[in-house]
C-alpha cells in the first residue's frame, strides 16, 4: 500500500530534473536564434532559462547582453553585464563581459551615481585587468574613465611632471603592483632599515602623485610569494625576504595617510590560493603577475575600496530573524525550541551574530525586518542566554506581517537613508527574490542553504568596506536608533501580483492519507500563528475524521521555483446540511504571504459545490498567538454572524450568491476527489 503513495514524491524529483533540462534546452534554442540573428526572441529564451536558479548563470547574462547590443539597447546590455560581477568568477566570462562593456561605453554613457577618472599605474601588464575594474565599479554605480600607464612605467609616470598621468587629471590613482616591484633583497642584515627605506619610497610616490594631481591613492599591497627557499625558517629570520615582505605590508599600511587606501592583496591572494595566484607562465609570456583567473577578484575588491572612498558603502544591514539569526521559528518553536548556542547549527548562528556585532562596531546600522508578532520576535533578544545581539544593538525593529519590501522601504525612510544604503540578509530565497524585484537598489546577500555557511557568506560581501575607522563609527547605531524612534513610520503599498506570479507556484491538494498523516498531526500540534481554531487533534482523532463521510479534509503541498516546501497547510470541515463548517484551518508560517490560504479556500469551495453545499461557515477562536488571522474571514468576503464574550467569532459565506472564492496564483496539479477518497479509505 505504501509504495503507491510514494509515487508522487518520485514524480516530483523527476520534475525538478526536467527543469534543469528545460534550462539547457531553452539556452540552446536561444543560441540558435541568436546565431540566426533573431535577437529579441533569443533574449526571451535566455531570460526564461535564467529563472531556473535564484541568480542567473553568468554565461546567460553575457549572452543576453550581447543580444541587447545587437538590438542597440545599451542600457539593457549594461544591466545584464553588471550582473556578471555577482555571479561569475571565471576569467573567461569576465573577460568577455568586460570587453563587451568597453564596446558599449564607446557610444553610450549610462546613468550612474558617480563618474570618476581613475589612473592605473602598474608594475605588470594591466591591460586585461582595467576593463574588469570598470565592470566591477559599474556594478557599484561608479563609471570609471580610465588611464593606464605603460608596462612598469609607474615610477616614471609619477616623477615626470609632464607625464600622461598628470595630463589625464586623475581623481584616483591606483598602484597595481606586485611582489617583484618591492625593492628588497633576498636577504638583508639590517631588515628594519631595508623595510623602512622601501616603505618610504612608496610613501614618497603616493605623496608626489597626490600633490601634483590632487588625487586620492589606492595602493595594492604585496601578495607575498610563498616559495621561500628558507622554508619555515624564514618566519624566524627577520632579514629573509619573506619576513621583510610581511613587514613591508604592515609598514605601508601604517604609512598610508587619510588620502591613501590599501587593498590587502596578500589577504585576497591567500583566500584565492597562492599557488594559483602566481602563474609564472603568464609572467614569462606577457608580464602578467597575477593569474588571469584571479583578476576578477582583484577587480571586485579594488572596486569596493574605490566605492568606499567615494562614500558609496552600504550603511545598514537589514536582518531577518527566524532561521537567519537563530534556527527555527520563534512563534512556533518557542524560546526553548529555537536553535541557538548548542549543536553545530546553533553555534553557527552564534558566530553569525558575533560577526554582525563586529560590523555594528565599525559603524554599520542594524535593522530587523521579520514576519512575526512583535512580542514573539523580541523574546529571544530579551530572554535567550545564547543571544549575542541585544535590542540596543538594533536601530530599528520591525516585526509584523506586512510584505518585507514595504517594511524595508519604511526602514529606509525612518532612518532617512537611501534604499541604496541597505543590505538585506534573509535565509528565505523567496523573500530575497521579492526584495530584489521590488527594491533593486537594495543589495541582497544570497545565503547558502546550510547555516554554518552564513558567517562566511556575509564576510565575503564587500560593500561594508570603509576607508577610515573612528570612535564615532561605533556610536552610529545609537544615533540612528534615536532617529528611528522619533521618525513617524509611513506605510507604502506595492503590488504583489507580479511577485506571486514569478514564484511559479504549484500545489498538490488532496484529502488526508496515511502517508501524510504524521506530518498532518505534527502541523496540527505545533501551528500557532496561522491557526483559526487551534484544536489539537491527535492521530486517532484525525483518523476518525478520515473515516467519517461527513468530514472534508484537505492538505496542500506547495512547490515554487526555489524550493519544495512540502505539506504546509490543511483544512478540516464538517458537512451540516447545506453548510460546510470549517473545523480546523491552519498553515505553516513558512509560506505566509503567498496566497496559499486563498488557494485552499478556493479548493474547498469546489468541494462544497460538488457536495451540494451552498454556505461555508468558519470560526475564529482567539489565542495569544493567532492575532494575524483574526480578520481572515472578512478578507475573503465572509460575514460575521456571531461573537462570543471570549472574542470567538463565527462567519458565513454565501456560496450560491457570491460564487466560489478564486485564486489565480497557484497551479494545482491534482484536485481532490472527495468521494473516491472516502471509498478507498
Amino acid at each position: 500500500m505504501r509504495a503507491r503513495w510514494e509515487e508522487p514524491a518520485l514524480v516530483m524529483a523527476e520534475q525538478s530534473g526536467t527543469t534543469h533540462e528545460q534550462r539547457a534546452e531553452l539556452e540552446s534554442a536561444g543560441n540558435a536564434l541568436r546565431k540566426a540573428g533573431s535577437f529579441a526572441e533569443a533574449i526571451q529564451h535566455y531570460q526564461q532559462a535564467a529563472t531556473a536558479s535564484e541568480l542567473p548563470c553568468a554565461d546567460l547574462c553575457v549572452k543576453i547582453a550581447r543580444c541587447h547590443v545587437q538590438l542597440n539597447q545599451p542600457a539593457e546590455a549594461l544591466s545584464w553585464l553588471t550582473r556578471v560581477v555577482d555571479v561569475a568568477d571565471t576569467y573567461t566570462t569576465w573577460q568577455s563581459a568586460a570587453a563587451l562593456l568597453e564596446k558599449v561605453l564607446q557610444t553610450h554613457t549610462p546613468q550612474v551615481k558617480r563618474a570618476v577618472r581613475v589612473a592605473v599605474l602598474g608594475s605588470y601588464t594591466t591591460t586585461q585587468w582595467v576593463p574588469m575594474l570598470r565592470l566591477a565599479a559599474l556594478c557599484q554605480g561608479v563609471l570609471i574613465e580610465a588611464y593606464e600607464s605603460d608596462f612598469d612605467q609607474y615610477q616614471q609616470d609619477v616623477l615626470d611632471e609632464r607625464s600622461g598621468l598628470y595630463t589625464f587629471k586623475p581623481e584616483v590613482i591606483v598602484f597595481a603592483v606586485h611582489d617583484g616591484a618591492a625593492a628588497l633583497p633576498e636577504y638583508a642584515d639590517d631588515a628594519s632599515k631595508a623595510v623602512e627605506l622601501e616603505a618610504g619610497r612608496w610613501a614618497n610616490l603616493w605623496k608626489t602623485a597626490a600633490q601634483r594631481s590632487g588625487a586620492r591613492v589606492i595602493m595594492h599591497n604585496f601578495a607575498v610569494r610563498s616559495d621561500s627557499a628558507m622554508g619555515h625558517l624564514s618566519t624566524r629570520v627577520a632579514g629573509s625576504r619573506y619576513s621583510m615582505m610581511q613587514q613591508l605590508n604592515r609598514a605601508i599600511g601604517e604609512a598610508a595617510g587619510s588620502n591613501v587606501s590599501i587593498v590587502d592583496c596578500d589577504r585576497i591572494s591567500a583566500t584565492f590560493g597562492k599557488t594559483k595566484w602566481f602563474d609564472d607562465r603568464y609572467w614569462y609570456l606577457s608580464k602578467q603577475a597575477v593569474a588571469l583567473d584571479a583578476l576578477p577578484m582583484l577587480a571586485t575588491h579594488t572596486a569596493a575600496v574605490l566605492a568606499a572612498d567615494l562614500g558609496l558603502s552600504r550603511k545598514c544591514l537589514v536582518l531577518d530573524l527566524d532561521n537567519t539569526l537563530w534556527g527555527g521559528v520563534i512563534g512556533e518553536d518557542g524560546l526553548t525550541g529555537i536553535e541557538l548556542g548548542n549543536g553545530p547549527r546553533g553555534e553557527a548562528f552564534v558566530a553569525l551574530q558575533k560577526y554582525i556585532l563586529q560590523l555594528k562596531n565599525k559603524g554599520v546600522i542594524l535593522a530587523v525586518c521579520s514576519k512575526n508578532n512583535d512580542a514573539d520576535a523580541r523574546e529571544p533578544f530579551e530572554k535567550h542566554s545564547d543571544m549575542q545581539m541585544s535590542l540596543d544593538d538594533v536601530s530599528i525593529f520591525v516585526a509584523n506581517w506586512q510584505p518585507k519590501h514595504e517594511n524595508i522601504r519604511r526602514i529606509a525612510q525612518t532612518l532617512n537613508i537611501g534604499l541604496d544604503s541597505l543590505v538585506f540578509l534573509d535565509d528565505n530565497p523567496a523573500e530575497r527574490e521579492i526584495v530584489r524585484q521590488h527594491l533593486p537598489e537594495v543589495d541582497v546577500i544570497a545565503l547558502p542553504v546550510d547555516p554554518t555557511g552564513y558567517p562566511q557568506a556575509l564576510a565575503s560581501y564587500l560593500m561594508f568596506e570603509t576607508s577610515s575607522y573612528t570612535a564615532e563609527d561605533s556610536q552610529r547605531a545609537a544615533q540612528y536608533k534615536a532617529k528611528a524612534e522619533i521618525a513617524e513610520l509611513q506605510q507604502q503599498t506595492g503590488s504583489l501580483e507580479d511577485f506571486h506570479r514569478s514564484l511559479q507556484m504549484t500545489a498538490v491538494v488532496a484529502p488526508f492519507d496515511e502517508l501524510h498523516l504524521p506530518r498532518i498531526v505534527q502541523l496540527i500540534g505545533k501551528t500557532n500563528q496561522f491557526n483559526l481554531t487551534t484544536r489539537r487533534h491527535n492521530i486517532e482523532q484525525v483518523r476518525r475524521f478520515m473515516d467519517d463521510s461527513a468530514y472534508v479534509h484537505l492538505y496542500l503541498k506547495l512547490t515554487d521555483r526555489f524550493a519544495d516546501h512540502g505539506l504546509v497547510s490543511l483544512l478540516i470541515a464538517r458537512r451540516v446540511g447545506i453548510v460546510l463548517d470549517i473545523e480546523s484551518w491552519l498553515m505553516s508560517c513558512r509560506v505566509i504571504g503567498r496566497t496559499v490560504e486563498a488557494e485552499l479556500l478556493s479548493q474547498m469551495c469546489r468541494t462544497a459545490e460538488q457536495m451540494g453545499c451552498t454556505r461555508l461557515r468558519g470560526t475564529y477562536i482567539p489565542t495569544a498567538k493567532n492575532v494575524m488571522v483574526q480578520e481572515i474571514f472578512s478578507r475573503f468576503g465572509f460575514e460575521q454572524v456571531s461573537r462570543s464574550e471570549g472574542g470567538e467569532t463565527v462567519w458565513e459565506y454565501d456560496l450560491a450568491a457570491h460564487g466560489p472564492i478564486e485564486n489565480g496564483f497557484i497551479e494545482v496539479r491534482s484536485t481532490p476527489d472527495v468521494v473516491k477518497q472516502e471509498v478507498s479509505s
Binding site: V62, S96, A99, Q128
Partner: protein, 82 residues
C-alpha cells in the same frame, strides 16, 4: 569528432572576440583576424585551457601556426581525433 572540436573551438573564439559570426578555417592565422593581438592571444589561450581542461607549457602558449595546428594539438592533448 573533428567537427565537434571545430565547433567548440569556434565557440571559444566567438566568446573571446564577442563576435557570434566568427568562422574559422584550418588555415586561418592570427594575422588575418581583426583584433587578434597579443592581449587577445593570451585571453584565447586561457579560455582554451579552461574549456578543454588542459595546460599549455610555457613555450606552447606563444604560437600556433594556424587553426589546424591548434586543433591537432588539442586533439592530441584531449585524446580526441582531429
Amino acid at each position: 569528432m573533428s567537427d565537434q572540436l571545430h565547433e567548440q573551438l569556434e565557440d571559444v573564439f566567438q566568446n573571446v572576440f564577442n563576435d557570434d559570426t566568427m568562422m574559422l578555417r584550418d588555415d586561418t592565422t592570427a594575422a588575418e583576424v581583426d583584433g587578434w593581438d597579443s592581449v587577445a592571444h593570451i585571453n584565447l589561450m586561457f579560455a582554451l585551457e579552461e574549456r578543454f581542461s588542459i595546460q599549455f607549457a610555457g613555450n606552447e602558449l606563444a604560437e600556433f601556426e594556424n587553426i589546424g595546428a591548434l586543433k591537432h594539438y588539442l586533439a592530441r592533448k584531449t585524446g580526441a581525433t582531429a
